[in-house]
């Protein structure tokens, strides 16, 4: 296979990993909303935890994006 074509295909495959991060971020915000509707008075205090969980989950998606960017521009 042509190495340039393989590089582009690899970058595309690496981006599939971001779907997993999408599932995770959706689960975090969905569960936060479900819990906030059950107990709205406690929701405000957990906003920091929500953002932290979002950031940590999103980091995994960012790593797959990073692999894609490295394949496209650095390697």
């Amino acid at each position: 296979m042509d190495p340039v074509a393989a590089k582009y295909i690899g970058a595309g495959i690496a981006c599939i990993g971001m779907g997993g991060a999408g599932v995770g971020v959706g689960a975090i915000f969905g569960n936060y909303l479900a819990a906030a509707l059950r107990n709205p008075s406690a929701a405000q205090g957990q906003f920091g935890n929500l953002i932290f969980g979002f950031a940590v989950t999103e980091a995994l998606g960012i790593f797959s994006l990073l692999i894609a960017l490295l394949l496209l521009f650095a390697l």
Binding site: G48, I51, A55, I62, F63, L66
Partner: protein, 249 residues
């Protein structure tokens, strides 16, 4: 139609010096960083110069941003974290204002370059390491050894903890950079649809209304993202600094 990537191009504006064969220029990136800093300075100094008991608009913004960052630090890093208030407040305001200025059409987004965000993330990373070692000495490395773990899986856990600690500056910087880059490319692509359809005559102009509405909606979304990413950067800085202040899990 303009290439959606060309908005991130760094242009040399004024040549400053030449050291060892490499030229040093005042670029559009540096210009917009300067505009960002002057904007923050004008907001905070101009807002607090009156020191009115009943704050006006500017003073309200300055006080709100101060209290917002102070509350964030105290809820994540405790009272001792307030020692790092200047650092966190500077990072938050710089990223927030740089993102907001970047949303104005025709401007340059400073935070859409990995070199800027990586510098900020490495600043936080090394602050955590140096302050942790200065405050706790070798006790700082308790950060990598959680309590209550069976001894036979401890090496694996320590390895994972060290790896996740070392990958922090990467995710910290790439998150901001990738969000800004992707958001601005999306805006430019949809704006490109508007000009493309607008050039097709009367039917095209009617068709172009749809992407135009989308661009407006996306700009509103990007406004939210601009604030959220600045907040995420600040709160992660607080959480990382909390590890340096209280290294035991």
């Amino acid at each position: 139609m303009a290439d959606p990537i060309s908005q991130f191009e760094i242009k040399n504006l004024v040549k400053i010096a030449e050291i060892g064969g490499s030229e040093i220029h005042f670029t559009n990136s540096a210009l917009f960083m300067a505009i960002t800093v002057v904007g923050i300075w004008a907001l905070l100094v101009g807002g607090t110069s009156a020191r009115a008991l009943i704050p006006g608009r500017l003073q309200s913004i300055a006080e709100l941003s101060y209290e917002f960052v102070a509350n964030t630090i105290q809820s994540t890093a405790g009272k001792e974290g307030m020692r790092f208030f200047p650092l966190v407040f500077t990072l938050f305001m710089f990223i927030l204002v740089a993102n907001m200025i970047g949303l104005v059409p025709g401007t340059f987004t400073v935070t859409s370059h990995i070199v800027v965000t990586a510098s900020l993330a490495l600043l936080v990373f090394f602050t955590v390491i140096f302050y942790g070692l200065y405050k706790h000495g070798l006790g700082f490395f308790r950060l990598f050894v959680p309590h209550g773990i069976p001894i036979y899986i401890l090496p694996l856990i320590v390895f994972i903890e060290v790896l996740s600690f070392l990958s922090r500056p990467i995710s910290h910087s790439v998150r901001l950079f990738a969000n800004m880059l992707a958001g601005h490319i999306t805006l430019k692509v949809f704006a490109g649809f508007v000009t493309l359809l607008g050039g097709l005559g009367i039917a095209g102009v009617i068709g172009a209304a749809l992407p135009l509405i989308l661009v407006v909606a996306l700009t509103a979304l990007e406004l939210l993202v601009a604030f959220l990413q600045a907040y995420v950067f600040a709160i992660l800085t607080c959480i990382y600094l909390n590890d340096a202040i209280h290294p035991g899990h």
